[in-house]
């Protein structure tokens, strides 16, 4: 085909009445021995369809075409993403009771102060995830601490097993507790603790049947069996609760600064919400009790209470609850959140660190939906598709900078 390209140049020259070199003449003569080529040559040198060329090329919009290419290059997996979103929406509809606790914590790794004594001798660190693949649902970074201080790194345990009072189900990746554990083997109100580190998530069924989904970078402490008048758990990080109904034994989630009391209902607490602890009620009723307060604030469904521990102010709004509970159903909704907050959240899912090359980008606001299981690379490409930022990934660190190239000339 490079021959056609050469011939095209030679014929252009003929059309332009520019003298051919000897080599060009030879090439053209050889080519023209073919009758159809000869006929074509006669035709095109006498009538170059330049007007036709212009008319045809005017039909299409080069800039729009380039934009489509750019979008497709930067979001190769979009059809798949849309499919995942639809599935996630379907799943959201069947969730009847739930509670999401979303709590901001500074350095969670160091807060988890108990050294891990694992089943094997060394603490395994999961290898860096493949950025082109959905994040692996890995339990290697999930640590269970049972009564007496013994800890298990769940990734070291190859099959389902009993760990203290807990039943570990390796295939469903969850820990569950029997309603009636053998009391003589374990203290009835022994506290267990589950730590889900960055890049992992996990679920838990408490002895009363309450189910808990734990996001990355989350810690929860709970009794193996609820024996007192209330069911109390302690949480830092982010979790989604489906609280088993029991009006006589209120379920209380203690986070730093707030108690949230439920009997059997659906709500959501987000303490990573611009420095506030946001409690969103989906269904039923919920009481928010700031520490040291002598009153409680009742929420009605569809409303969110945002409590700022530093000022003690409590504000109630009715924003879309998907913004608070989306992560649990597989889609992370965000509205006008800063790039700093957004990337920190993504960093938690994928266990990557974020570095801003252009500091002013931190406060840029973003709105959208991102699948919790999207490959990291895909998420970054979606962000880059805004044509505003560029993400560079190296050694588990994402460097964010302002986009340099000009798309259109």
């Amino acid at each position: 085909m490079s021959e056609q390209s050469d011939i095209a140049k030679i014929i252009s020259k003929v059309i332009m009445r520019i003298e051919l070199t000897a080599d060009e003449r030879t090439l053209l003569d050889e080519w023209s021995t073919d009758a159809s080529h000869r006929a074509y040559f006669e035709q095109v040198t006498h009538f170059l369809p330049l007007d036709d060329y212009r008319r045809v090329t005017a039909l299409t919009d080069e800039s729009a075409h380039l934009r489509r290419i750019t979008a497709q290059i930067h979001a190769r997996r979009r059809p798949l993403l849309l499919r995942m979103l639809r599935i996630a929406v379907g799943a959201a509809a069947v969730v009847l009771f739930g509670l999401l606790i979303h709590y901001i914590i500074g350095d969670w790794q160091s807060a988890f102060d108990t050294p891990a004594v694992t089943a094997s001798s060394t603490e395994a660190i999961a290898p860096a995830a493949d950025p082109d693949m959905p994040p692996k649902v890995s339990n290697r970074r999930v640590i269970l601490k049972v009564a007496g201080g013994k800890t298990y790194s769940l990734g070291q345990i190859p099959s389902s097993a009993r760990l203290g009072g807990a039943q570990y189900d390796v295939s469903r990746q969850m820990i569950s507790y029997d309603a009636m554990p053998p009391a003589k083997l374990h203290p009835v109100d022994a506290l267990n603790e589950l730590a889900v580190q960055r890049g992992a998530d996990f679920s838990l069924t408490l002895s009363d049947g309450t189910r808990v989904w734990l996001n990355a970078d989350t810690r929860i402490k709970y009794p193996t069996r609820f024996t007192s008048g209330e069911r109390r758990v302690w949480l830092s990080g982010e979790a989604y609760f489906e609280v088993a109904h029991d009006a006589e034994h209120p379920f209380i989630v203690s986070v730093d600064g707030v108690d949230v009391r439920v009997c059997g209902t659906t709500f959501n607490i987000n303490t990573r919400c611009h420095g506030t602890i946001a409690t969103t009620l989906v269904e039923g009723s919920v009481a928010v009790i700031p520490s040291g307060a002598d009153h409680e604030t009742l929420l009605t469904p569809g409303h969110t209470a945002e409590f700022a521990p530093t000022t003690g102010l409590l504000d109630i709004n009715d924003r879309d609850i998907q913004l608070y509970i989306g992560w649990k159903t597989g889609q992370y909704h965000f509205e006008k959140i800063t790039l700093d907050d957004l990337l920190n959240e993504i960093g938690r899912w994928h266990d990557v660190k974020i570095r801003f090359a252009d500091e002013h980008l931190r406060t840029e606001q973003f709105t959208g939906v991102i699948g919790r299981r999207f490959p990291l690379r895909t998420i970054l490409l979606m962000l880059e598709e805004t044509n505003y930022i560029e993400c560079d990934m190296h050694d588990g660190v994402i460097t964010v900078k302002e986009k340099q190239y000009q798309l259109m000339k």
Binding site: Q4, I15, L59
Partner: protein
């Protein structure tokens, strides 16, 4: 105009270089594909896939000519696939028999010539450009003079100057036209 260094920039993930390549090749490839499928949307889709294929394989190329050859080949194959998948294939084949059109090779050459001439002419002053366009359509000097309301002598002068300009212009297009218009 683009050269091999440009292709190396694309190979090094320079998206701006890719954008410039798109600009340089889009129209001629569109003409080439459109003349076969005669459908704007199908042509655009085929070229979208063609350019994306090149971007995905950008590391394999180091010369502008090889990229051009690749683009023509990929888009032609996609046209063939399109016809194969399309119900109207047989109707198109029948139509082609009644209306003998250019072969794909000749169509490619026409696209290339038109693109080169178009790009060279585009740089000329308006009236000179029009003279050249009509002249290329094999119109006589008197016809051109009538159409543009100028004297035949003016047409001759403009033509002469224009060809001189084009010759000079085209001779500077190193890389694309390495040995012609010299």
């Amino acid at each position: 105009m683009l050269d091999d260094q440009h292709i190396e920039r694309v190979a090094e993930d320079d998206y701006t270089a890719f954008v410039e390549l798109h600009h340089a090749l889009y129209e001629r490839l569109f003409y080439y594909v459109y003349q076969m499928v005669k459908n704007k949307e199908v042509s655009e889709d085929i070229l979208q896939e063609t350019f994306i294929k090149y971007w995905e394989n950008r590391k394999s190329f180091s010369s502008f000519l090889s990229v051009k050859v690749y683009m023509y080949t990929v888009s032609r194959n996609m046209v063939i696939h399109h016809f194969r998948d399309n119900e109207t294939h047989h109707r198109i084949l029948e139509k082609m028999e009644y209306e003998p059109i250019l072969t794909e090779d000749h169509l490619l050459i026409t696209s290339e010539i038109c693109a080169m001439v178009q790009q060279a002419i585009a740089a000329l002053p308006a009236q000179t450009r029009r003279v050249i366009e009509l002249s290329i359509e094999d119109r006589k000097v008197s016809e051109i003079a009538d159409e543009l309301h100028i004297s035949p002598n003016t047409v001759k002068t403009l033509k002469k100057n224009a060809y001189q300009t084009l010759r000079e212009q085209l001779s500077h297009l190193k890389g694309l036209l390495p040995f012609i218009f010299g």
